[in-house]
């Protein structure tokens, strides 16, 4: 049996080449760009989208899509901060509750996709609105501040070779490496690729397709919960307006990272690179003093190039 996940398609190198090219360019434009301090900042700026994108990648690998991720994350961050600050719950318990809520949303998404057989696009469009509304009602649209230190510790930094590195970015990279190994080296991980390639073929080989799908959505929900913890730690507040642009930003990161929207193909580390590319452009263009619309323009062009590369490599594979 061929294992498409193990083949490294040419498309998989695309994101790394784009990142290298952009970094080289910015390094020639600003002598501050390549400093450890600056690169560490870029990672901190993309860690929320980066961790959200892990969940999004898992879902896209099954040929689904999740429009609710940013809103579910915002709800998670309100649950955690409100429980800890206003209800006086122990911060660890509050974080656990946040993770349960976001995983619960994942479970709802997963059950609706499998049991009710609704397209993920529609299901998550619905839960996106529900999560947003619940967030606003629950928080009365008020920001929660004065957080206990336990909620922001993961945003703290340690010094390595003169560079301050945030624990949050370490968590992000560790999650990526862990999920990458899990996808490649374990049978549940391999099943995700198989289901994404062809649910029928997967079913015939005895893979419990529905269980795999529900599991993927719950795991994705867990990732959104972890992202909400990072978002809280980074900004120091629970923000009910968070997550609104992150929804589409995660899809941008996944697509830039070379994962196919048709499912079954892609390397999760690419999504990290995709998220970093967006951060590098935002940072580099600010250092150059270029208007932010240019960044939006470049992101748009890159997304289309990435999808084109995917299409072409699919044709080549046939």
């Amino acid at each position: 049996m061929s294992t498409p996940s193990r083949q490294i398609p040419w498309g998989a190198l695309g994101p790394w080449i784009a990142l290298l090219a952009a970094s080289t360019f910015f390094a020639t434009q600003s002598d501050r760009f390549l400093t450890g301090e600056n690169l560490s900042l870029v990672l901190q700026q993309v860690m929320v989208v980066g961790v959200l994108a892990i969940g999004q990648t898992l879902i896209i690998l099954t040929a689904g899509i999740d429009l609710s991720c940013g809103m579910v994350m915002a709800l998670g961050s309100m649950v955690v901060t409100k429980l800890a600050v206003e209800n006086g719950l122990h911060p660890m318990l509050a974080m656990l509750c946040g993770l349960l809520v976001t995983s619960g949303f994942g479970l709802i998404n997963g059950l609706l996709v499998t049991r009710a057989r609704l397209p993920s696009f529609i299901v998550t469009l619905g839960t996106m609105n529900i999560a947003f509304a619940v967030t606003q009602i629950y928080s009365k649209s008020q920001t929660v501040s004065n957080l206990p230190a336990a909620l922001t510790n993961i945003g703290n930094t340690f010094t390595l070779g003169g560079t301050e590195i945030s624990w949050g970015t370490i968590l992000m990279v560790a999650l990526y490496v862990g999920v990458w190994r899990w996808l490649n080296d374990t049978s549940p991980g391999r099943h995700i690729y198989a289901v994404g390639n062809s649910p029928e073929a997967a079913r015939l080989t005895g893979i419990p397709v529905e269980r795999v799908l529900v599991g993927v959505y719950v795991l994705a929900g867990l990732c959104y919960g972890l992202a909400s913890l990072l978002s809280i730690a980074r900004t120091g507040v629970g923000d009910p307006q968070a997550g609104q642009t992150e929804n589409l930003d995660t899809i941008t990161a996944v697509v830039l990272g070379g994962t196919s929207l048709f499912g079954g193909r892609g390397i999760i580390l690419g999504s990290l690179v995709g998220a970093v590319i967006v951060g590098v452009f935002r940072n580099g263009l600010t250092l150059m003093g270029v208007a932010s619309v240019v960044q939006t323009l470049i992101t748009g062009v890159l997304v289309i190039l990435a999808v084109l590369a995917d299409q072409m490599s699919r044709k080549g594979a046939r």
């Binding site: 901190q44 008020q142 900004t235 507040v237 003093g289």
Partner: protein, 329 residues
Amino acid sequence: MKLIARTLVLSAVTLAASAAFAQTQPVIGLITKTDTNPFFVKMKEGAEAEAKKAGAKLLTAAGKQDGDTAGQIAAIENMVSAGAKTILITSSGDAIIPTVKKVQAKGVQVIALDSPFDGADALFATDNYKAGVLIGQYAKAALGGRPAVIATLDLFPGHPVGAQRHNGFMKGFGLAAADAKSNELSKDASIVCMADSFGDAAKGQTGMENCLQKNPNINLVYTINEPAAAGAFNALKKAGKEKGVTIVSVDGGCQGIRDTAAGIITATSQQYPLKMASMGVAAGVEYAKTGKKASGYVDTGVTLIAGKALAGVDSKDTKVGTDLCWGNK
């Protein structure tokens, strides 16, 4: 049969009664950009209080997000068909103008609150340029002759309010800047970095981090609003540079005033959404009673609130700011 007949009669009576009531009670519609931003929540509260006092019926609606003009257009149409004779709107964009013209032709008065657009009968709003000038003057005094190394955390490209505050700030600081009509952000050599914050704390923080990378000697930060200012402070603090950097802002929300009292924000220009809304409702009641429309621009006022009073700059302290702030006290 009997039951159906009775129901029919009852509904007819109810309908007639409500129709008669509608004629005597002025109906006023309030449409905000969103219904989640505390600024608009406060505006709605102000309108509701005034409507209750004046015996008017208030309908409210909002776009789904800033920029959702389609949602606002639908709200205008729905409110007019529900009998509203005055629409108060914080425009999300010029796409609403054709619909506004259409309902004005039907005798509906349309008043712009907070955000100006062409064709409104009247505008009740903060003078955003002046709000910028005030914090610019304060910043000049705060630096006390030290050379300024400025970062601006603006709204997003092309928004008039963003340009007015930015250019007003420059003017107040004594730099050459475009006037209040311009939609473009002016530049100057002393402004070493400009980033878009979208009025959001997380994006403000990202913008400030990048600006500090560009120039670590920034000593003055202009921010479009207080969440952006809080984000900027977060970035400065993480870089160990929060001391000796002046952060000025605009809005005067209760959280922003608390941040000003805590020294996070040096000074902020406070605006008054509640007043915009209550004046709007009063104008709607007036129009229903006398048929006289409101017109022109009415400045709803702006006050400079500073943690520390400086010689030569007229400012109020944070206690005054707290009394007048919007949001949760």
